[in-house]
């Protein structure tokens, strides 16, 4: 077996640290953008008011009337602040934009760190819990940036980057694992397919978790507004699309995540289990939880087609599904004895 390139490992660790710091900076800037939402909204309102003003001046100047007094404090309807299809409307959010730029930098450093770790060990860089988390965080951040190129999902930045930073920190604190070769049970081409699909699925579920939580918050706000509440509440939510828009987008991503979960953990997992352990399904704890998560998300997809179960209840199912994923990862891997003893944790 080829030796591990320790020099490359050191570079990998350095870049992982850099990525973590830059992510943290991006997270903080997204948070600042969130806090400054009301300022952003006021600016947009002022711009819109100014536009209206010039238009009216043009109209009224002909009639020789004095321009009517404009009310710049008038609330701009939310449709003008966000697009339901999450298209870019040209709202300037400098802090968020710098945060996005930093995220790009961080993802580049992170990608280098993950790739060099894999090259150093001459295998896929997701063979233990530390690597699973760091690779997962990379995919979450990369998918988020990918979506950002098409859609204005800057409103998700604080949540996504927060989750990414959490994943990086818990990998380092909870599951620090030195680079090493993998044990014979993991030496199979299936590790590349099975685990990468699991990472993809979990990354998508992570993003939809953030969206579904926002959906619930947004729904409460919409209810309050419909009930005639004049309380302006959390200004940030005015820059977030409507609950139903969030729900639809979360559904589309969950559908993709569900396919990944079916093919990855479930089907290729069973195929690999047959090859390594002799049976395709044996209700090992990890298999149980893979099944539970699959059923919960299947329930979510069905809830979308059941009267009285759309909207908030479906969102809760998606959130519960993500809770099961976290439980499966953080609790089942560590505390439940089973065949998936790959965690690389000290006994």
């Amino acid at each position: 077996m080829q030796s591990i390139n320790m020099e490359l490992v050191q570079y990998s660790e350095l870049f992982l640290l850099i990525a973590a710091f830059v992510y943290t900076a991006a997270f903080m800037l997204f948070a600042v953008d969130m806090i400054r939402s009301s300022a952003t909204i006021r600016r947009v309102e002022a711009e819109l008011a100014a536009e209206n003003m010039t238009e009216r001046q043009l109209v009224s100047s002909g009639a020789g009337e004095a321009p009517r007094d404009q009310a710049p404090h008038q609330q701009v309807p939310s449709e003008e602040l966000v697009d339901e299809e999450m298209a870019y409307l040209g709202t300037r959010r400098p802090f968020a934009n710098v945060a996005v730029a930093l995220s790009v930098l961080a993802v580049a450093a992170h990608a280098f760190a993950v790739a060099s770790r894999g090259i150093a060990a001459n295998r896929v860089p997701w063979a233990n819990m530390f690597e699973f988390l760091t690779t997962g965080a990379l995919v979450v951040a990369a998918v988020y940036l990918l979506v950002l190129t098409r859609k204005d999902v800057r409103f998700l930045g604080t949540f996504v980057l927060g989750l990414v930073v959490t994943m990086m920190v818990s990998a380092t604190i909870g599951f620090p694992t030195p680079v090493a070769h993998v044990q014979p049970a993991l030496q199979s081409p299936w590790i590349a397919i099975h685990v990468s699909l699991a990472v993809m699925a979990i990354s998508l579920f992570t993003l939809t978790f953030a969206m579904n939580v926002l959906q619930l918050i947004q729904h409460r706000r919409e209810l309050a507004q419909a009930a005639g509440s004049t309380r302006s509440g959390w200004q940030f939510l005015r820059l977030v699309p409507s609950a139903i828009s969030l729900e639809n987008w979360a559904y589309r991503m969950n559908a993709v995540g569900f396919v990944f979960w079916t093919l990855g953990p479930l089907i290729t997992g069973a195929v690999w289990a047959e090859e390594a352990w002799g049976r395709y399904w044996g209700w090992d704890v990890k298999e149980v939880w893979t099944f539970v998560i699959w059923v919960v998300y299947a329930g979510y997809l069905h809830a979308r087609a059941t009267r009285g179960w759309t909207g908030n209840r479906a969102a809760w199912l998606s959130i519960i599904g993500f809770g099961c994923i976290i439980f499966n990862y953080a609790v089942v891997n560590v505390y439940f004895p089973g065949l998936h003893s790959y965690a690389g944790l000290p006994d």
């Binding site: 077996m1 079916t262 044996g282 059923v295 059941t306 209840r313």
Partner: protein, 580 residues
């Protein structure tokens, strides 16, 4: 976005699938009343029960219950995996253990309640897909639905007025009939199933407010994405297929475990197994008479890494296999993740360890036991549990319990531990006992456990004689003239599993079919389109079109835009008049 929800097409076979626009947003409580059983006869009750069972809400509830019911199987030890831990759990938790055992918490996946949930779920599923399949078949074999009266009320709608000048200008738009054919062609190219209807068949559209029914040239009805519903049905049918294959597999499969010490052979026959788990309909002639012999076993450990020194990197067993007594012996490699396929059975390498060769002589000097003793490794450095039973020893039966240390190192306190998994300095540390080992009554005993109760201690660290410490090639004389024990050498052993499951290819086939169906049903778009063409009183050709989505479709607007672009490319379209 609210319109989107209205047009959401939902599985029609489910009786509580929302049909009316906006009903999806009705609060959950509003339909509770439906659930009250009406006062009906037995048939009525059965019909009602069937309706309830096959409803979407019930299916969803059963799904969620299945998820919850699966969880205890990960919390409590399960008999299918480890019957010994189940017994230990019940012993450690008297009272609770028995109750949970009665409630089948240690056999969750074959329990009455778990089976009830998934069987009900599958009955509900079948009851749901049968009417859906019928309805889908009817739709597939019939033309696209009738053209609605008011296309402008559809979620996506557009109208184009084509250029027309009186004098046969080459810039002229096509006449109404030609436009209709063009529209049909465009829709067909966009992979719609298309039907062109003449004005008489388009009576619905005729009545649409234009007032000039004579001007209608007919309409086009089109639908695409039938595969979405087909995929959905295939997905659910394939799940039934998976379940059937799983059931077949558990009936006709078998699995068995065998430990093979170096140079030992194994013939696939019932008596040869250490443990054997047949399916319900297993018969002994299913066992193909192949044989496997372990010639050599090699372990590779990490010798470079500072952090993972001694971690296993590779296990390779060189085996000789033979298919039947007349078969040609074949040398093969058996590794983790690389099982052997012999006849229809699969042979897996699931464990390995050391088997020290021991000779026990009794007080009379006769050999009471001689051979390799399979030890059970308990940690990464292969500190292995050894149990030796010599019931033939005279005058007293002898038993030994202790450890094999592959590379023993003195800790400085008179105690040795193993520091490496390879055989650097193999050492046996044993306690010895004499008395009745309890083997004579014929009760089955675990060969890896010596019940020391009722035995007299000969050697142990607490005794005057001390424990037995043996290096390779050494012999120890037992106290009180009870005999001697020699450590002659160490051989390797492997643990193999033999599995036979004739239905597992079927499970894989149906799982992949289900996946294909799932992808089709989730990502295909099912749409209907209608185009009407009429000649306006001004003599121009007016084309209207409308789009309707069935099921989740977030890109209906894009379809509208694409369709309009194609129409505009095909025909010279009049700019909309400013003042009208």
């Amino acid at each position: 976005m609210a319109e989107k929800r209205e047009n959401t097409y939902l599985p029609a076979g489910h009786r509580d699938a929302p049909e009316a626009a906006g009903s999806t947003d009705a609060p959950a409580g509003s339909s509770r009343a439906e659930v009250t059983p009406p006062a009906l006869g037995v048939r009525g009750m059965l019909r009602w029960a069937w309706t309830q069972l096959t409803s979407m809400r019930t299916a969803l509830m059963l799904l969620l219950m299945l998820a919850v019911a699966a969880v205890p199987g990960s919390i409590f030890p399960q008999r299918v995996q480890d019957p010994f831990s189940v017994d230990a759990w019940i012993e450690d938790n008297p009272g609770v253990g028995e109750v949970l055992d009665f409630l089948q918490f240690f056999d969750v996946y074959s329990s009455v309640w778990f089976s009830a949930i998934y069987l009900l779920l599958f009955i509900s599923l079948i009851g749901c897909i049968l009417p859906r399949a019928k309805k889908h078949w009817q739709l597939m074999t019939s033309p696209p639905p009738r053209t609605p009266r008011r296309l402008e009320r559809l979620p996506e709608f557009g109208a184009l007025e084509l250029q027309s000048t009186a004098a046969g200008d080459p810039e002229d738009g096509p006449k109404a009939q030609q436009a209709l054919q063009d529209a049909a062609g465009i829709l067909k190219a966009r992979r719609y199933r298309v039907e062109v209807r003449d004005a008489a068949a388009t009576d619905g559209a005729e009545a649409s407010g234009s007032g000039d029914s004579a001007g209608s040239a007919g309409s086009v009805g089109a639908e695409r994405g039938y595969l979405k519903e087909s995929g959905n049905l295939v997905f659910h049918v394939a799940l039934v297929g998976v379940l059937i294959c799983v059931a077949l597999g558990s009936m006709f499969s078998y699995r068995g475990q065998k430990i093979l010490v170096e140079d030992e052979g194994f013939v696939n026959a019932l008596v040869a197994y250490d443990s054997f788990h047949p399916g319900a309909y297993f018969s002994e002639d299913q066992l193909q008479p192949f044989s496997v012999q372990l010639d050599d076993f090699e372990r590779v450990f990490d010798r470079e890494s500072a952090t993972n020194f001694g971690q296993p990197l590779d296990f390779t067993a060189d085996v000789t296999t033979q298919l039947g007594p007349e078969g040609e012996p074949q040398s093969q490699e058996l590794k983790v993740n690389q099982p052997l396929t012999l006849d229809d059975a699969r042979v897996f390498l699931v464990g390995n360890g050391y088997a020290p060769e021991i000779t026990v002589r009794d007080g009379a000097g006769d050999v009471a036991f001689s051979g390799p003793v399979v030890t059970r490794p308990d940690d990464p450095v292969y500190t292995s549990m050894a149990v030796i039973k010599a019931p033939d020893a005279q005058p007293e039966q002898l038993g030994f319990v202790g450890l094999l240390l592959p590379t023993a190192q003195d800790t400085g306190e008179g105690l040795s531990v193993s520091v490496d998994p390879e055989l650097g300095n193999p050492q046996l540390q044993l306690n010895s006992y004499y008395g009745d080992l309890g083997l004579d009554e014929g009760n089955p005993q675990n060969v890896y456990v010596l019940d020391t109760e009722g035995l007299e201690v000969l050697n142990s660290r607490d005794e005057e004689a001390g424990g037995i410490v043996l290096s390779e090639g050494e012999t120890y004389e037992l106290p009180e003239g009870m005999g001697s024990i020699s450590f002659d050498g160490v051989r390797d052993y492997i643990a193999i599993d033999v599995h036979y499951n004739p239905a597992q290819q079927g499970v894989l086939f149906f799982a992949l079919t289900a996946l294909t169906g799932l992808i089709l049903s989730l990502f295909l778009r099912r749409r209907r389109a209608w185009v009407t063409v009429e000649t306006t009183p001004a003599g121009r050709t007016l084309v209207r079109y409308g789009l309707l989505a069935r099921g989740e479709d977030f890109r209906l607007r894009d379809e509208n835009i694409a369709l309009r672009a194609q129409f505009e490319k095909k025909w010279p379209v009049r700019a909309p008049e400013e003042d009208s």
